[in-house]
Amino acid sequence: MDILRFATAGSVDDGKSTLIGRLLFDSKAIFEDQLEAVERTSRDRGTEYTDLSLLTDGLRAEREQGITIDVAYRYFATPRRKFIIADTPGHIQYTRNMVTGASTADLAIILIDARKGVLEQSRRHAFLTSLLRVPHLVLAVNKMDLVDYAQERFEEIREEFTAFASKLNVSDLTFIPISALNGDNVVSRSENMPWYLGTSLLHHLENVHIASDRNLTDVRFPVQYVIRPQRATDHAFHDYRGYAGQVAGGVLKPGDEVVHLPSGLSTRIASIDTFDGPVEEAFPPMSVTLRFEDDLDISRGDMIARPNNQPHVAQELEAMVCWMADGVKLTPRSKLTIKHTTRTARALVRDLHYRLDVNTLHRDEEATSLGLNEIGRVSLRVTQPLFVDDYARNRLTGGFILIDEATNGTVGAGMVLDAR
């Protein structure tokens, strides 16, 4: 059994909570005491139906105001897969939250109300999904019961959205007509839409092929922590020196020739160690410890790659940045802390090329700053070289966060476009 992480985007009006509630309920991930609590609260408030959004709206302010503030993570499993849902709110702080939820997602579900069709919000969600390079996108056309399960309406929406998506980087796009309320095409195929020949949403989630979404080509191992037992659990390890980290790309094997960055020196992997014994290969997302044949000066923030396949060693970065801070804005000359893989440095914003309108994709080249939830293309100069790949090639070695040096808050998320 593997894990599929997916993000859901849409507002309460689109039936997102109802859809999540149904997935959780039908897979028995909602328990009786949780359901009773939700039913009791719904009754107390005079709501006629059981408001499943109360399951995910966990904070007092959310319940009081009837809004979702933050990304909520929900879990369910079927015999085929474990699922982690990043449930992101549709309205409030949508960009910041959706970018956060999408950063780790294998798949995104965008809900569209069949009566309303493709809205500005749907385009925005699709754009963010493509910006964050979520490999699989599902457009769930919901409330099909309210348009008499009409194939024509579904096809209209499919055509309109396909035309828009052609402008984006979406590699796998699936359309599913559903009714979350009635359960049509959610868990099992609906008898109300015999014209629909595809699978149910859950069947799709259980079977979509994600194993090859990881980058297994470019060996990338950011050194996270040096293991040198001071107080070894066994005297045999007295001279042990291992480099621990999580594989960010490629497949590593003992005996492989590798290059250490920034030194550029080559060595071979002597052993790939784990608590459970040495392993014959390591690949994403394994956390392992490498030992090398030669004694090199290696520390946290360094990178292990292959001599003939190295990341860019860059101090000048071109990137798309999503700004996430209230109050303070990103402007040319802003100084920030940048965290990329296991390396932290300081960065100077050299230029803001344009601000992107996430609804129209229009580039405003006159823009002089990025505010909360705004996205733009920037040039950064970094105090130390970073070992980067284009985000499109590897999300883990192409993504970074920006930290405000005054507040220590995480104020930006960046995706490398063109490293030099």
């Binding site: 009786e32 005491d33 107080r231 784990t274 956390s287």
Partner: protein, 304 residues
């Protein structure tokens, strides 16, 4: 040549993520500690720590906030396990906080030291100058926790501000704090109760005996089975009876209920949990029942 598809099981993915989080903390903080209660989640967390730094010893101490109302079996387990690992165990005592007048003990039949733990915990964090504190909480436990970050920022009063959390992207965690502030770190955020049990089975990890079915003298209160103990005040209208029970969670005797169960092995526990229709906290924790936002309120104050 044979082509592999390099798939990984859900437990391997969760373990790799948790190890990554632990190493990140060890690399970025000066003085981390790991909260170890002897409960199943902290036992799993301790195994992850053992794996993350092997063959070196775990590079931080363990800490237990001891209310004095814990089960003997669990305290024995706590001491033995930390001894086996050669780890330093700090015990922060709620009784000491009471004796020093830092907190005032509740009285009456429903008295619990649950809420008092927060003061003891925050005092200990301050005393030892811990800047990162590992906790075994999971997001599937409770809906306020479902929104909490893996690196959860606490101000210098130890408070959590749910509306002002740092965004968390990819596997990049922001470890920046000022002196006096700290980060609560939850490496098991993405695990479910069933994942924890599956992992205990896979790894053959020992757990305290009270998780398995045993015969115990109990009484019923609010639909929960509380144990016969000198620290639990029982009314005359609450008669004792013998039952075959086990614990799904391990907390204080005063607020942790047992469930009737015949499950005597980890396999039987997994079968039981897979079939159950009540959450672990709903079934067994009086501390979460006091109000709709009980957990959120306690977390805001600095609770685990």
């Amino acid at each position: 040549m044979l082509q592999r598809d390099y798939t990984t099981s859900q437990l391997d993915v969760l373990e790799a993520e948790a190890i990554h989080i632990m190493r990140e903390v060890a690399a970025e903080f000066e003085r981390p500690c790991l909260l170890f209660s002897g409960g199943k989640d902290s036992i799993v967390m301790l195994r992850i720590a053992e794996k993350a730094f092997w063959p070196a010893a775990i590079p931080f101490p363990l800490m237990h906030v001891d209310t004095g109302h814990n089960f003997d079996e669990v305290i024995d387990f706590r001491d033995r396990r930390s001894g086996e690992l050669g780890a330093r165990l700090i015990v922060a005592s709620v009784q000491d906080s009471i004796d020093q007048g830092r907190v005032v003990e509740d009285t009456g039949r429903r008295a619990s030291r649950n809420r008092l733990q927060t003061t003891t915990l925050l005092d200990a964090i301050e005393e030892h100058e811990f800047d990162a504190v590992f906790g075994g909480a999971r997001r599937d436990e409770e809906k306020a926790r479902a929104k909490e970050r893996v690196f959860s920022f606490r101000d210098d009063f130890g408070q959590w501000d749910p509306k002002n959390q740092r965004p968390e992207l990819w596997n990049l965690y922001n470890a920046r704090i000022r002196k006096g502030e700290h980060i609560r770190v939850f490496p098991l955020s993405n695990w479910t109760e069933l994942d924890v049990w599956d992992y205990i089975r896979r790894e053959g990890i020992e757990i305290p005996s009270i998780y398995f079915a045993h015969t115990r003298k109990v009484f019923e209160r609010d639909g929960m089975l509380l144990p016969d103990s000198e620290v639990v005040q029982r009314g005359e209208d609450e008669p004792l009876f013998e039952a075959v029970v086990r614990y799904r969670t391990v907390g204080d005797m005063t607020c942790t209920g047992a469930v009737q169960s015949q499950a005597a092995t980890v396999e039987e526990i997994i079968e039981e949990i897979a079939a159950t229709r009540i959450t672990e906290r709903g079934a067994t924790r009086a501390d979460d029942r006091s109000s709709e936002a009980a957990m959120e309120d306690r977390k805001r104050e600095g609770y685990f």
